[in-house]
Amino acid sequence: MTESEGNKNEDCHAANGVKPGRNGMVKNHHHHHQYQKQEKVYHAACNGELYSRPFIESFEETPMLVAVLTYMGYGILTIFGYLRDFMREWKIEKCHIAREREEQKDFVPLYQDFENFYTRNLYMRIRDSWNRPICSVPGATFDLAERSSNDYNWTFEYTGRVVKDVINLGSYNYLGFAENTGACATAAGEVTVKLGVGVASTRQEMGNLDRHEELEKLAASFLGVESAMAFGMGFATNSMNIPAIAGKGCLILSDELNHASLVLGARLSGSTIRVFKHNNMQSLEKLLRDAIVHGQPRTHRPWKKILILVEGIYSMEGSIIRLPEVIALKKKYKAYLYLDEAHSIGALGPNGRGVVEYFGLDPKDVDVMMGTFTKSFGAAGGYIGGRKDLIDYLRNHSHSAVYATSMSLPVVEQIITSMKCIMGKDGTTIGRSRIQRLAENTVYFRRRLREMGFIIYGNNDSPVVPMMLYMPAKIGAFGREMLKRNIGVVVVGFPATPIIESRARFCISAAHTKEMLDRALDVISEVGDLLQLKYSRHKVLPSLDRPFDETTYEENE
């Protein structure tokens, strides 16, 4: 990131290079005036015209003072954690948490690793921000059962009061289909009365109803693929189907920040797994080249197949996969692509068809298109779409198809109705208007948060908005202060994120009206001032695409 970058800027009219490094952090070296000069850049000119629209993603670097103070905070809490553990060990204090029995004290210790230490001494102290019981449908607002604790979060009691109309910024309710009124709920109710709730069998035995077949045909036409198959659980879709399509002698290239279901599926398959840096195409290309040149580890035979596992939107970072580049690489090196669109289906693209439509690409280029019905469709379950021979193979060989109970019918009906609504097949324009409202809400919310001075990660178009908190005490304080002001947010810390990069994650919904968003933004600004969360040192931040060539990867090293 030196003068050579400046020269490249003049050549290709792109602004500085921003490559997400480890953990999605980017060294942002560009100057404000340079950005102003190049505002009218036509981004498709870079990267060989792969991108038809600007790809603006940014991960601002952690300010040095904040990082130092965060480490200091964790250090102080660790010292107190050791003190409390000492007191528990010497029976000065009653121990509330699981511990080994007296008879097991010579065995290998179970609870001495850092994760258990962290749970006992840090997570328990701020645990009232998670697992809050809800007593209404989690739409744009919800009702909360209040609870209090007398012994510092070891046990909770209900006060009996219900907090009403808490604005919901935590549910994955992107298109607002999590509701108990409307066409979807009515259709699900009718089918429950007619056909019951339980199916009591697997797909291969007696559990294949005509509604399942219709759902699969509808999903295939929605995605633009030949055939699709639906499963009862999104996590199980990944973890049970990757072992069916990859095995020993195959190579899996998986992104650094992939979801646990993809990691579990890859490990269960028994293939060799190699990890490339998050959203970093040079890292992926290097791994592909190495794999093809050197082959399998000892025998140097060619790999049976190379499978690239990526997600459409990464929910902890809010970043969108660079799909045109991945597809170009896949075609060049003859690998297969498995795209997990859990968060991006329904939420991206002018017709809600996901990240493939967002970039204007052909769905036939993606070999396995996987997604879940949990987020945008307001139901449960997952699907896999692709060529007909692949899906027929999975029907016979997938563990989930053979052993898992098939989807419950009200859920199937909810998916069918919501999918028809999004496609416009029910004759109304509700679907289209929801997709447009989600896009507007996303852009508006992100722009306002950036202007206020918070550090926001991710792509400008992704409805998942992570806002950085960094310090451990602010995680608990933010959750509590927002709830006091009637806004429900999700805060995330270690181990879901790197230890100093704790964040609050907002999920924008089409069900949020502009007034709700304005109220939420005012409250977030107020709490941000109270807790001093406005860390951003640049008021205008977006980063633009950078053409890559051989040298950029070495610069990153």
């Binding site: 905070g73 964790y74 102080i76 809490l77 102290r125 005490a473 109270l530 807790l531 001093q532």
Partner: protein, 82 residues
């Protein structure tokens, strides 16, 4: 009213101190232990600097001023001797 807003400002500063050091999540007796230890260390630092810093500063100034004054005398002595 000025006293009230002053008090509120001090309360807000204390809140920031609790958040930044991470003490906010601890139980009250742990907060007291940490505050006691920190205040003791700060008091010791202040006492030490009150007792020793003026003496050291004076000695340092004397040392440097003697260097500067000593310089022209010694060069004159060198030039005069053959």
């Amino acid at each position: 009213m000025d006293m009230k807003s002053m008090r509120e400002y001090v309360c807000w500063l204390y809140y920031q101190y609790l958040l930044i050091t991470g003490i906010y999540v601890l139980e009250p007796w742990e907060k007291s232990i940490f505050n006691t230890v920190l205040c003791t260390m700060v008091a010791m630092v202040i006492y030490t600097s009150y007792v020793f810093v003026p003496i050291h500063v004076r000695l340092a100034l004397e040392f440097f001023s003697e260097l500067v004054r000593g310089q022209p005398e010694s060069t004159v002595a060198l030039m005069n001797s053959p």
